[in-house]
Symmetry: C2
Subunit: 363 residues, 2 copies
């Protein structure tokens, strides 16, 4: 019953514990803080008093005094996306194991929200943070630069940012995309739709413009485009802007765009989706067109999930090592915080194509 603490209003402080135990403040602090020396007898008294009062150290005060918060920040695009949820779990599992809490913030792919999130983390004095940034070019990284200048360690996850010289933990996006598209090509497809998401209002007409556009897009998507082109090039299939979607990758837009590609005189016989929501969007378009996969259209997408396996027929998908991605990012960050010289390199993890039954030869 910690209620009889006299006039004290808030939670018990170390001074109150000291008074209760009849010792000096410093002695109580040493006992409870686990530093310095305290005789067994006094230690016992302090512990008993703390127990009685229900004392818990004020982490804010401690951080103020020591300058470290034992807290990591995490900024992701959307925590509701199973991909990021998995990454976050990887981060919190390993950071918790090393005594760090995590504060997770979602930006919902909005750069202003990302800046705001960064400021929240700076203000709360996290010891470092991990970010899957929506920033692409130099003009968009000021907030991260600002954090770096304050001496806050930063690690990028999922998305590398060319304008930033930082550790980044990513997967082999280009290779993964290439492998998927090669699988489609090997099955005999030549008209392969590409569901992409650069900010451009319409599809670039030429390869050159396409690549230019790629550098204005998220790094992951840029890489995936390169993988798509790699596979096309190897098979000497000409690039056709008509079968690549541009603009925001919402499920609705994907449905419209795939429907458009399906209505083309020379319609697509396969689709490659760079995101899981794009897969459901594409599937809706197929159904609306009265088409079935893999018979009429073959399909491969990014980010495997449980439902992809129970679809009938089950979907061939690219599986990303989400937990490892997060765990590795946390590890690199924690090492940097611990003082290990930052290497500032790109840590590339391998993804895996899970072959199921959504790919068949074109009809």
């Amino acid at each position: 019953m910690p209620a009889d603490r006299g006039r004290a209003a808030g939670p018990p402080t170390i001074s109150e514990v000291a008074r209760e135990a009849g010792v000096g403040r410093a002695t109580a602090a040493r006992t409870l803080g686990g530093y310095g020396y305290v005789s067994p007898e006094l230690r016992e008294r302090v512990l008993a008093a703390a127990e009685k009062l229900g004392y818990r150290a004020n982490a804010l005060a401690r951080s103020m005094s020591t300058g470290v918060s034992h807290t990591l920040g995490v900024i992701v695009a959307d925590i509701g996306n199973p991909f990021f949820a998995g990454v976050v779990r990887g981060i919190s599992d390993t950071s918790r194991a090393r005594g760090f809490d995590t504060i997770v913030l979602s930006t919902y792919e909005d750069l202003d929200e990302e800046v705001a999130a960064t400021n929240v983390l700076i203000d709360k004095r996290v010891d470092g943070f991990i970010v899957a940034s929506a920033a692409v070019d130099k003009g968009e990284v000021a907030h991260i630069r600002a954090a770096m200048e304050r001496g806050i360690p930063v690690v990028l996850v999922d998305r590398a940012v060319a304008a930033l010289d930082l550790d980044a933990v990513v997967i082999d996006n280009r290779e993964a995309a290439r492998e998927a598209v090669e699988t489609l090509i090997a099955a005999g497809h030549r008209r392969i739709g590409f569901v992409w998401g650069p900010p451009a209002p319409e599809a670039p007409a030429t390869r050159r413009e396409l690549l230019a556009e790629a550098s204005r897009n998220l790094w992951t998507d840029g890489e995936r485009l390169r993988g798509y082109l790699d596979a096309l090039d190897d098979a000497r299939i000409p690039f056709d802007p008509e079968v690549v979607m541009v603009g925001r990758k919402t499920e609705e837009r994907v449905t419209q765009e795939v429907a458009r590609m399906l209505a083309l005189p020379d319609r697509i016989t396969a689709v490659f989706c760079t995101e899981t929501d794009a897969v459901t969007g594409a599937l809706r378009a197929l159904r609306a067109a009265g088409l079935a996969y893999p018979r009429d259209v073959a399909l491969i997408g990014f980010d495997d999930s449980s439902w992809a396996a129970v679809m009938e027929p089950p979907l061939t998908m690219i599986e990303q090592p989400v937990h490892e991605l997060g765990a590795k990012a946390a590890e690199v960050l924690l090492d940097t915080i611990a003082g290990t010289e930052p290497r500032r390199e790109m840590h590339t993890l391998r993804s895996r194509l899970i072959v199921r039954s959504s790919v068949a030869p074109p009809s």
Copy 2:
């Protein structure tokens, strides 16, 4: 270029800004803190100095001094579950709009983790928190009680806890389950499997034991069981322990259990799943048994999602107002923090059965 701050090591403090501006510390504090009076001229100087130095207030120090952190805590079972992800988004959207940050912690359905999470929030001195607690009986709520005794406002979300007299924001679980099972019964089903998750090792043999078990289970699942029984009772269908699954609702276990129910001499012709992962688990069992829905087995589950709509045939599911659930919980908590007398009531939101094509009469 905030680099020429002299010998200062960390980020700039208010004293440094004051010195730079050539004013007293208090004046700089008043300007930057937005309180008290400062003449336009000095204000201008302070602002310029802060800008030049890249000053950002230390939220920790501010909280120490004022006693409020403008931060809400959120404890959910699994942020990777789209249901909780939606709830969290609802919470952060409305709390951000009212000037509060949120710290989200996942317990992965482990009570010890929940206790640890609660302590983290207490230690970080959040102004209040929202929790979807895994606690069921009196012996498991000590950590929440402790927070309440410290004067920290707490609001429950998704799961009410009988042992706690607190505001709770939930949906009409019992009614939702009843409606779903009634739909199954209306289609002609009498053997309806129930995928449930009480801690019991085996299915209770009698109704009485079942209900007793329900009170040892998560509140939501208890209510959903009652809804299931309500529907059975109304149709005078006897309860059969053989068709209710008990124990942890992992996807693998669901698959095994549904397979068992499918192998019964008097096999089930319909399944009701109280969770989205249970739906995929059940679907796997169907496929393994060479059965198709809705022809061989009808199916309804909790938590609608995009993929449920693109399944072939599309799934009939219960949609929960996830965002509203979170928004309402945040609202109630924020009001309590703001000093409005807490009402300690149950706020019930309506769910909705989305009828698609996974229910047909038994063959």
